[in-house]
């Protein structure tokens, strides 16, 4: 067993590795990451994950639900550290896996992968507590500076192999599974999928022609290219960035700036507004459906996957499924009571890429506690790659192997 495999085994047991080894792993990781582009290209199949925030035991639950690396190809969209009690073990495990299986593990940067934020939200203190000095924190922050800013997923299928039936179902666009892998709901493309499909609780009527064909009044043609790629980024878009190529031109190897394109990619949020708005976070911007649709159209994207915002149902599709928030920290901060999700995009085995199957406004749902939120408006039809969301809950308390101190959240008492 190599030293790296030993480190992985030790970290999997939630035990920190020695400082010298952290230094070595961080050094190797930097050598690897420095070669990566600002926007990494990833080929489906891939499992896309949102914020982890140091919830180590829930990361283990994620691997249980999503499959173990390297068997599963993972893409983590940042915010590995802060808030939870095991930022160190969580980030180092992911980093070791990255070094060990560079092609099966993609890590991109979140707004918490920053020196300033980690001093406020816990990672700095945790390193100090666990090592008695800030050295390990410094090694990790140096790695943060080299993390990619985004990823492009190519070759995702637009059909799902059903978790239950092991047969491809071309009419199913979205499947939501529970932690045991059982499909708990389907959302079809045409609205004529099987009985298990969710109806249209909003009572929306079907549209007539394919989007953009002029056969209907739908403006859905601007949503994006259904055969297009999926852009993954931690926060969202920037008013300074209108093409993916412009992300590629940024100088990313630095602390996250307080404004500008790089800051926005890590801080911004989609919102029900027109155009751009000021963010309540004080960094990044809010952006509306028109911005997303324009961006996807211009860049031949079918979907933007991002993290950054707590969603109680684990995932939330917005703006005619042109953007989705994926959140992977269940019971966030041991306080919020939310479920988590990962997004699976499967491989396009037929080699035909996506094509526009959908011309109906179907399968709408307001979501549910375990179904996530599919917030489509009237505009356009659902399209894009077939998506399987695996929804999971926090790891059971007894699996945490906690010492006497229980994780206790702050309240106002």
């Amino acid at each position: 067993m190599s030293d790296l495999d030993k480190a992985i085994a030790q970290l999997r047991a939630c035990r920190p590795i020695p400082e010298a080894q952290v230094r070595e792993v961080c050094h190797k990781a930097r050598e690897l990451l420095i070669e990566e582009a600002n926007v990494v290209t990833v080929t489906a199949p891939v499992t896309i994950c949102g914020d982890i925030h140091g919830q180590f035991h829930d990361l283990m639950e994620l691997f249980r639900v999503g499959g173990d690396p390297p068997d599963t190809n993972y893409l983590f969209m940042g915010d590995f550290v802060d808030r939870g009690f095991y930022s160190l073990e969580s980030f180092l495990l992911l980093l070791c896996l990255k070094v060990r299986y560079p092609d099966r593990m993609t890590l991109i940067r979140g707004n918490h992968e920053s020196r300033q934020i980690t001093t406020v939200y816990g990672f700095y203190d945790e390193c100090l507590r666990k090592y008695g000095s800030a050295n390990v924190w410094r090694y990790c922050c140096d790695v943060f500076d080299y993390l990619a800013l985004g990823a492009i997923v190519l070759g995702a299928s637009n059909t799902l192999e059903s978790a239950n039936e092991a047969t491809a179902r071309e009419d199913v666009e979205i499947e939501v599974c529970n932690a045991d892998g059982d499909a708990i709901s389907h959302f079809g493309r045409r609205g004529k999928a099987s009985n298990s499909d969710q109806g249209s609780p909003n009572g929306k009527t079907e549209r007539i022609g394919p989007p953009g064909s002029g056969a209907s009044g739908s403006s859905g043609g601007t949503v994006g290219n259904p055969a297009g790629a999926v852009l993954c980024v931690h926060g969202g878009l920037s008013p300074l960035i209108d093409t993916v190529d412009k992300i590629r031109l940024l100088d990313r190897k630095q602390e996250v700036p307080h404004e500008g394109a790089m800051c926005d990619l890590l801080w911004s949020d989609p919102d029900e507004i027109d155009g751009w708005g000021l963010s309540p976070r004080g960094a990044g911007f809010l952006f509306g459906a028109d911005i997303v649709k324009m961006f996807n159209h211009r860049n031949d994207l079918s979907l933007i996957a991002r993290a950054h915002q707590l969603v109680m149902e684990g995932f939330k599709e917005m703006f005619d499924a042109s953007i989705v928030t994926v959140w992977s920290a269940p019971n966030y901060c041991y306080r919020c009571g939310n479920v988590a999700a990962v997004l699976e995009l499967s491989e396009d085995s037929g080699g035909q890429g996506f094509f526009a199957r959908s011309n109906g406004d179907v399968g709408r749902s307001d979501g549910g506690a375990n179904r996530g939120v599919l917030l489509d408006s009237d505009e356009g039809a659902r399209r894009g790659p077939a998506r399987r969301y695996r929804v999971f809950q926090a790891a059971p308390q007894d699996s945490r192997g906690m010492p006497a101190k229980k994780p206790v959240a702050d309240y106002f008492l």
Binding site: T119, G282, D410
Partner: protein, 368 residues
């Protein structure tokens, strides 16, 4: 979750530049003698009562954190937290600091309006489960707050500690100069404060108030406009016990107002988790199960005999009562990344208020 960054930690916003606004208005932390405690009391306590008493430490530490960072001004907060054996002051997370700020600001405004409305006459505040609260000191320190009779009620252990602290702390003794005990009781007081004010501190179990053989509260005026205050106190009693406590005062005082700060919404995902997390700290909040939202809080106050009632969540108060300028000032202190979590947390606490027999027009739509 209580973070413990060293005082050397850089402020999130100091390097933000123009966009973050003025920044750097937070007061320097770690001033001489103002360091606060690192103890949030995790020792296992034998009884629910003892556990509840320990929540007061929690509140004092949270208040110190908010004061240290410049959210609140409170020159007395530092005396009610223990000096840490080592290390630096406890720094709460930004959402907790914002919550402490919003709760304190909301109660300060309601109390300020009450005092303005009763200006020139004798008036009275009765604070239930006051613990280490500093409000009395802050009020007595203001010239305009004349003829104020201020009662604090808490377990004898808590009031004895407060008595000792005041006698041994010059800055506190400057406000309450002659804190004298009444023989054979756990009550101590100073009836000769400046501006014709009085301070009374009663060491009692609130549940004993309504017992048939209970001695009446010494010094309680029944003939002056009175504000009864429960800041996360009655929520720890059984529902009927809490109602009995309120009834003790409604039975005796005709010109009465009441402000209660309590959690709400126990039934959604966040609320269920809150109830469960508090249970692991062996904290129960019976009234939370009964008065589950602001509507039920209003009904509770109406049933208790108050003519006019209102209730708002902390989330609404932050949105509606805090001016844009003040919001910007508060945001500039630390920044707040966890917007979704703030909305969740702040939606689970409420301030409710009701009154009768007092012309409290400023309370009608909420002060702004």
């Amino acid at each position: 979750m209580s973070g413990m960054p060293a005082p050397s930690i850089p402020n999130l916003l100091t390097l933000r530049g123009s966009r973050g606004g003025s920044g750097a208005r937070g007061r320097a932390r770690g001033r001489g003698g103002t360091r606060s405690s690192g103890t949030t009391s995790t020792t296992s306590m034998p009884s629910h009562d003892a556990t509840i008493q320990s929540t007061d430490t929690d509140a004092a530490v949270s208040r110190m954190s908010a004061v240290d960072l410049g959210y609140l001004e409170d020159q007395y907060a530092q005396f009610f937290v223990q000096a840490p054996a080592m290390g630096a002051a406890v720094r709460r997370l930004p959402i907790i600091n914002r919550g402490t700020y919003t709760r304190t600001t909301a109660l300060d405004r309601l109390i300020g309006s009450f005092l303005s409305a009763t200006d020139g006459q004798a008036r009275q505040i009765v604070s239930l489960g006051a613990g280490t609260d500093t409000r009395a000191f802050r009020l007595f320190n203001e010239e305009s707050r004349a003829k104020l009779v201020y009662h604090e009620l808490d377990f004898p252990a808590a009031t004895a500690r407060k008595h000792h602290l005041i006698r041994s702390t010059a800055a506190l003794r400057a406000v309450i100069q002659k804190p004298e005990s009444i023989d054979q009781t756990h009550t101590w007081r100073d009836e000769g404060l400046a501006n014709g004010s009085q301070y009374w501190c009663h060491g009692i179990d609130l549940r004993d108030l309504s017992k048939p053989d209970a001695t009446p509260l010494t010094g309680l005026r029944t003939d002056v406009p009175t504000l009864l205050l429960s800041e996360c106190c009655l929520c720890y009693l059984e529902v009927t016990e809490a109602s009995e406590v309120i009834k003790y005062f409604t039975d005796r005082i005709s010109r009465l107002s009441f402000v209660v700060y309590e959690p709400v919404h126990p039934d959604d995902a966040f609320g269920k988790q809150m109830v469960s997390n508090l249970a692991t700290r062996r904290i129960r909040m019976p009234t939370l199960e009964e008065y589950t939202d602001t509507g039920k809080q209003e009904a509770r106050l109406r049933d208790a005999g108050f003519d006019s009632v209102h209730s708002l969540t902390i989330e609404r108060i932050w949105e509606d009562w805090i001016s844009p300028e003040e919001k910007e000032r508060v945001h500039d202190l630390e920044g707040l990344d966890e917007v979704e979590e703030w909305n969740l947390l702040a939606d689970h606490y409420s301030v409710s208020w009701g009154w009768r027999g007092i012309g409290l027009d400023a309370w009608r739509i909420g002060p702004s």
